[in-house]
Symmetry: D3
Subunit: 155 residues, 6 copies
């Protein structure tokens, strides 16, 4: 059973945000932890710089996951970071319908992810990995790929 959200527009009220404050962990471990959390199924993971007691620069780790992922996330946080406590609270997510369009550029195809609100396209985002692949393959600036994708959409 997958925990991936469906592609149609919906409200998801089975989401949890977990948070951890960290002031005694080196930054290089945090780069590693982010990858582990994504691999284990986190919907998003991000860090915020915070000011903690005793003049300590710290990091607030936040992650979003579905209810059934909370335990595995906690386990990773406890084993891979230096925290003694993990806090969390529920939230609701309104997700747009997602459809995928293929756009041809002179260097190759790029997928464009579209987001629909009430059936109307409000978002269009060229897939980063596609653009990056073409930029590296043809040794041209990444932004030229994006520029051409914008030009070709809906033509």
């Amino acid at each position: 059973m997958s925990s991936h959200p469906p592609n149609y527009e919906h409200l998801d009220d089975q989401m949890i945000k977990l948070e951890v404050n960290l002031d005694n962990i080196p930054g290089e471990w945090l780069g590693y932890v982010m990858d582990l959390l994504f691999e284990a199924g986190a919907n998003d993971v991000f860090y915020t710089p915070i000011y903690m007691k005793k003049n300590r620069p710290g990091i607030l780790l936040q992650l979003l996951c579905s209810v059934e992922k909370v335990n595995i996330m906690k386990e990773i946080l406890f084993k891979e970071t230096t925290t003694l406590g993990v806090r969390y609270y529920p939230l609701t997510v309104h997700r747009l319908e997602r459809v995928f369009q293929k756009v041809e550029t002179e260097w190759g195809p790029v997928t464009v992810k579209e987001g629909l609100l009430d059936g109307k396209v409000v978002q269009r985002a060229p897939e980063y990995e596609d653009c990056k692949y073409l930029a590296q393959l043809h040794d041209i600036p990444l932004k030229k790929i994006y520029e051409q994708v914008w030009k070709e959409i809906d033509r």
Copy 2:
């Protein structure tokens, strides 16, 4: 019907915080979006720098609004930013009673907003727009206006 909070001290349990993570939007659009959200009735809108996957500097957009404003806020977020999802959760706000006092400076009047806790003044803040107006009109440093307001309060 206005969604403005009343001026007496109260607990408001009809407030919602909305959040969006953004890693594919230029900063100049975000300056614009903030204005739109305020104009549509957000109580507050603010950005936090965050560290996202793949070495991306991102922005966490947070906004506070009353329950009945959630739909219009979502619509703006979906139409004006690049997000495919908006998350939110309820919270309670304890607001002080607010009263307004007029203070005379040598350059003109300034309104001072006071906040009362259990009927006692605990906050006093000169209105920024008043002070700015006088500073520009008389071509003097903004802080001199504030300094004189502090001197004249309650005299």
Copy 3:
């Protein structure tokens, strides 16, 4: 009656997060407020830089405390900061079991706090104040104390 959390592993669902946005307070007051909040029993207090309206760099103050501390925290926030409103919401905290180990270094003893998940040690952190005390007493780098503690643990 103490509000300190117990030392065994547990879920605490009596915790509250309070938040305040501040754009009209000097930084030097915020250093002072943090101390007051800790002294009054906050479990944690931390600041995040935020971007507020009208190009204002602001601070998001967040604090964690148990339900019964909410009123005293609010009072401090209203009296010592410049806010007219405090917002808050409940959350759950999963806390590890905590045990303390004494480790001998060549400069003196250091307490190591251990965190246990399901009875197994997953965290070990030398107490900062112990290490700092020895570093200052013997005039050696703080990190040398930590390095030796790591060497001596479990030997």
Copy 4:
């Protein structure tokens, strides 16, 4: 005599960066100061959140200006902020050649600023103020304006 940089590609070695650390100024004054510095001819002004002594969240104000503007910038900084010292050092700026192109969208014209390196276009940026004007005039999302500008460039 204007201090504006010319439009052709060049190295400018008459630039100065000024810096000020601020821990006792409210954020709302800083929004005001930024405007004043730009009006007085600063090439750029920006703020960075910093951690200062005694647990103070502070702001590092940085500004770039030409040598002949240093005195007026210092004067504004001393009069409008709370600093007792301003530090500065010279730097070199490599600026691209700039040309302006007009692009027609269905809602009206938008200027696109191009940057040229060795005579070849490497940058293209739709002018924000033009796009904002059209977005407000026609009540459509700002990003739709940008999207169409990208589509029409060089057609």
Copy 5:
């Protein structure tokens, strides 16, 4: 021989900024290092959150000191942090003339530091330590002390 700057307005061209990027040090050590650097005579020390390679949240440590302090600062940085390199460059500081005024409040005296540009007062800052002392002694909000100092200055 003291390295303290004199109290009259002057340009100091014997100042150095040192910088270190840190991605493998816990935040709690950084709180300690800041104190050591100030004790050894740094004019200022501050931290900035930075985004480093491999998704690492890092810290940029910056410090200002006079030329003759560079070696002792380097030594502390190498011994107390985890860096393998320290970078630095000279800068000029324009410092205001400083004079001290005594202001009487109902709770006791507070020193106000004034900054003079061309002999005219442009800065006035109540000394934080004085205000903090009175706030704690009389158990009143810190901001009430400041408010009264502003009221009494120049009366």
Copy 6:
């Protein structure tokens, strides 16, 4: 001819810091640019969140490289970011002597990089990539690898 710094302790006065302010580039491009700059020989590249005009959250890109790399860095910055100008200034770097030690853990060997000041070891850092490799190979927490390396050094 390599531009890598030598392994003995030395002062390097052929270093340049380049800086760019960015307010119209999506974060996902910045993750890509950082990699390109490192591949082209930058000694370090890092981002700082900044507050720019018109309420724009922006990014300050900073990079360090040797004098002979300045042109290639500029070219990448102009082609891959959205800037119209790059600023730079020289600085000096004091680098420690570097030696490498092999440490055996129960999961395999880890290289430890040591930094020497005046011939004495002041830094010891387990190589992140070695630790990460072992953590993934044996499916154990990264921090356990580090902990054992600390235990085995110099035994």
